[in-house]
Amino acid sequence: MSTEILMPALSPTMTEGNLSKWLIKKGDTVKAGDLIAEIETDKATMEVEAVDEGVVLDLLFKEGEANIPVNKAIAIIGDPNEKVEVKKESPIEKVIEEKKIEKNIETKVENKKADIIDTPSPKIEEDRNLSSEEITMRQALRDTMAEEMRKDNKVFILGEEVAEYQGAYKVTQGLLQEFGKERVLDTPISEHGFTGLAVGAAFKGLRPILEFMTFNFSMQAIDQIINSAAKTLYMSGGQINCPIVFRGPNGAAAQVAAQHSQDFSSWYSQVPGLKVIAPSTPYNAKGLLRSAISDPNPVIFLENEILYGLKGLVNNDINFSIPIGKANIEKEGNDLTIVTYSIMLQKSKEAALRLKEEYNLDAEIIDLQTLRPLDTETILNSVKKTNRLITVEESWPFGSVGSEIANIVQRDAFDYLDSPVIKVNSADVPMPYALSLEKLYLPQVDDIINAAKKVSYIK
C-alpha cells in the first residue's frame, strides 16, 4: 500500500509552500522521523519529517518549485513490489478532492484566499511611479523600514525575534544584515520593559520602531504606551515629544484563539496623543509607514497577519508617503457608503461586487487608512451623497471605531440619512478556536451584504 506525503501546513496562516530541497531521492527507504524535505513557508524555511514508512516511489515536485498548495501530495512512499495503483486508478488530484471533502481542511485555505481580492483602487492606477512588479505587504513594510533607516541613523528597530530570527513574520528580513546589531535589536520577551526603554530613547531624540510580535502582547506594555508615550508632550508643556512607531500584526490570524486574536483599533484610537494607522494594501502600507516613521508623535501601526502575504503594486519612490489622517475612497458609488479599514477592506470589496451583481446596489467604499485622527470630512461627504452608511471592522462592537463614526454621522449629517447606520463587527465574545466558530465570530461577506440590504430596505 502506498502513502502520499502532503505539503504540510507549518504555520497558522500558511496556504502554500516552496519546495526548497529534497532530502530523499527515489528509491530511498524512509523511516518515520527521517527528514525528507526543506519547505519554505510564509515565515521560515523548515525541515519536514516523515510520519509513515516505506520506499520513496516518486517525488511529485522538483526542488525549487514554488507555491505548492497545502495538502497537495508532494511524494509517494510505499512497498516497491506493489504496483502504484493509486496513481493509475485514482489520480492525485482526485484523491486530494476526496480528502478535502473528508477532512474539510481545505475550506480554511480557500476562505483565506477568498478574503483577499485585490483590484487596485482608481488612485493607485493613476500613480505614475507604480512599480512594474507586485510585492507582498510584508516586503513593502520591510523595504520602507530599510529606506528610512538608510536616511536617518536615529531610526532603529527593536522587538522580539526581529534580528537573528529575521522577524516572527519575516517583516524585518535582512535588516540585521544591512544595519547591524546596534540598530536591529532582539529583545527578551519583556514588553513592559523594552517598551518603556524605547519610549525613553524617543524622549531623548532617537526614532525607535518597536515591533510587537502581535498587538496582543502590547497589553503588557500599555501603561508605557498611554501614560508615558502619549501624554508626556502634553504634561511637559510641549517640551518632550515621543517619535516612535509601535507596529505589528493586530486582530485575528487563523485559529490562534482568544488571547492571540484581539483587535485593538478602538482601544488605541481613544487616546489623545496617539496616532493610529491601519493599512490594507502593500501600496498604502508603504506610504503610511513612511509617514509614521517621520512623524514626531507616537504612532500605533496596526498590521494584519493574513494581509502580510497580500501582493500588490507599490510606489517605489523612496520619498513617497501617504498623509496620516486621510481616508482613501477605494471605490466610488452612489447607493450606500461602506466605511472600513485593514483586512475588512478586502471583504467589503467582495461584498460590493456581489451587491452590484445581485441587488444592483452601487456601494462606495471608504478605506480609512488612519483611525486617529479620523478623516470625518471624507465620511460625511460620502454619506451626504449616498444617504446610507454601514461600517465594517473586525473589532468587538462595544465602543468600536464604527460606534464613533455612527455618532459623528448622526450629529453632523442627520438630515442626510435615509436609514439608521448599521455596524458590522465581530461577535461580542472572546475569539473561539474551532474553525467553524471562528468563521462565525468574524464579519463575513454575507454579513456585510445583509447590512447593506438593511440600510437599503431590501428584504
Binding site: 513592559h192 525613553g200 524622549f203 508632550l233
Partner: protein, 320 residues
C-alpha cells in the same frame, strides 16, 4: 575622589536648605488651596539628591519619580517656575499642564517627574540607551522609590540594562514606606540593593542622611557606569519627615521613629561640618538662611501671581 572644596560645602548646604524651605512653603500653599491635587514633599531626603548632584555632569540625564521638587532644585532649575507649576500657572515648567508629579526640563536633561510607580525605570534605561547609541560618555541617573522595587518592569529594565551594558545609575531612595506600607511589609528580602545581583549588577547600601556618604558612593558608582561597565545600583537609606503626600497623616509610624531620624537631620550634619571645619561662620550661615527664605518667598509670590494658562492651551501640545 576629588577632594571637596570650601565652595562645595556651601553649595551642598545651600541646595539642601533651598529644598527644605521650598517644600515647607509648598505645604503652606497647599494648605491655602493654592496648590491642588497630589503634592509629595522631599523634606528629610535632601542629602540624597544633593549628594548625587555633587558628582553629576551637566550633560548627564536624570529621571525620577513623582517626589520630584527637590530633584528639580538640585538640577539647578528655577524655584519660581517649579512653584508656578505646583500652582498650575503658565510660567510653570510644564506651562501648568503637568503639576507637581509631571515636571520636565529638556534643556537641562531633566526627563521628569513620572506619576506611575516604576514607569520611570525603563524610561531612564532608554535614555541611557540613547547616550550609548549616540556614542556619548554621559550616563542617566534613574531614581527609584522603595515601593517601585516590587514592580515588575523595574526588573525587566535591570535585565535589559545589564544585557546591553547601558550607562544607567539606579538610585533607590529607600525612605522606608511606599505610601503607608513599610518596606518590610512589602518586600521579601530587605536588601533592595541586592536585587540586581541575579543580573550581575553591583549594588551597595548607603546612609542617605549623611550627604558625604552619598557623595562617596555616587562618585564610585558614577565612574563605574561612565566607564562602560553597565548599570550600578545604590540604595540610599533615607527618611521622609512628612507623610506620603499632603493628605497623609502618617499614622502608620511612631513619633519616636520620626524624632530619631530628626536627630540625624541631613542639613544639620552639613552645617556642623561647615562650622567644625571653619568654612563659614555662624553669621555667614545665617545670611544663607535668610537669603534662601527670601528666595523661596519670592518664588511663592511669583507662583501665585503668574496667570493661569489660557483656555486655548487646553488643546495645544497634544501633538507636535
Amino acid at each position: 575622589m576629588k577632594k571637596l572644596q570650601k565652595a562645595d560645602y556651601i553649595k551642598m548646604y545651600s541646595f539642601m536648605l533651598k529644598i527644605r524651605r521650598f517644600e515647607e512653603r509648598a505645604a503652606q500653599l497647599y494648605g491655602m488651596g493654592k496648590i491642588g491635587g497630589f503634592c509629595h514633599l522631599y523634606i528629610g531626603q535632601e542629602a540624597v539628591v544633593v549628594g548625587i548632584l555633587m558628582t553629576i555632569d551637566k550633560n548627564d540625564s536624570v529621571v525620577t519619580t513623582y517626589r520630584d521638587h527637590g530633584h528639580m532644585i538640585a538640577r539647578g532649575l528655577d524655584p519660581k517656575r517649579i512653584m508656578a507649576e505646583l500652582t498650575g500657572r503658565e510660567d510653570g515648567y510644564s506651562a501648568g499642564k503637568g503639576g507637581s508629579m509631571h515636571m520636565f526640563s529638556k534643556e537641562n536633561n531633566f526627563y521628569g517627574g513620572h506619576g506611575i510607580v516604576g514607569a520611570q525605570v525603563p524610561i531612564g534605561t532608554g535614555i541611557a540607551f540613547t547616550h550609548k547609541y549616540n556614542g556619548e560618555k554621559n550616563i542617566c541617573r534613574t531614581y527609584i522609590g522603595d515601593g517601585a522595587m516590587n514592580n515588575g518592569q523595574v526588573f525587566e529594565a535591570f535585565n535589559l540594562a545589564a544585557l546591553w551594558k547601558l550607562p544607567v545609575l539606579y538610585i533607590i531612595e529607600n525612605n522606608k514606606y511606599g505610601m503607608g506600607t513599610s518596606v518590610d511589609r512589602a518586600a521579601a528580602g530587605l536588601d533592595l540593593y541586592k536585587r540586581g545581583e541575579a543580573f550581575g549588577i553591583p549594588g551597595e547600601k548607603v546612609d542617605g542622611m549623611n550627604v558625604f556618604s552619598v557623595i562617596e558612593a555616587a562618585d564610585k558608582a558614577g565612574k563605574y557606569v561612565r566607564e562602560g561597565n553597565g548599570p550600578y545600583i545604590i540604595e540610599v537609606q533615607t527618611y521622609r519627615y512628612r507623610g506620603h503626600s499632603m493628605s497623609d497623616p502618617a499614622k502608620y509610624r511612631t513619633k519616636e521613629e520620626l524624632d530619631n531620624y530628626k536627630q540625624t537631620d541631613p542639613i544639620e550634619i552639613v552645617k556642623a561640618e561647615i562650622l567644625k571645619k571653619k568654612i563659614a561662620t555662624n553669621d555667614e550661615i545665617e545670611k544663607i538662611n535668610k537669603d534662601t527664605l527670601e528666595e523661596i518667598k519670592n518664588a511663592a509670590e511669583f507662583a501665585t501671581n503668574s496667570p493661569f494658562p489660557k483656555d486655548s492651551e487646553l488643546y495645544t501640545d497634544v501633538y507636535l
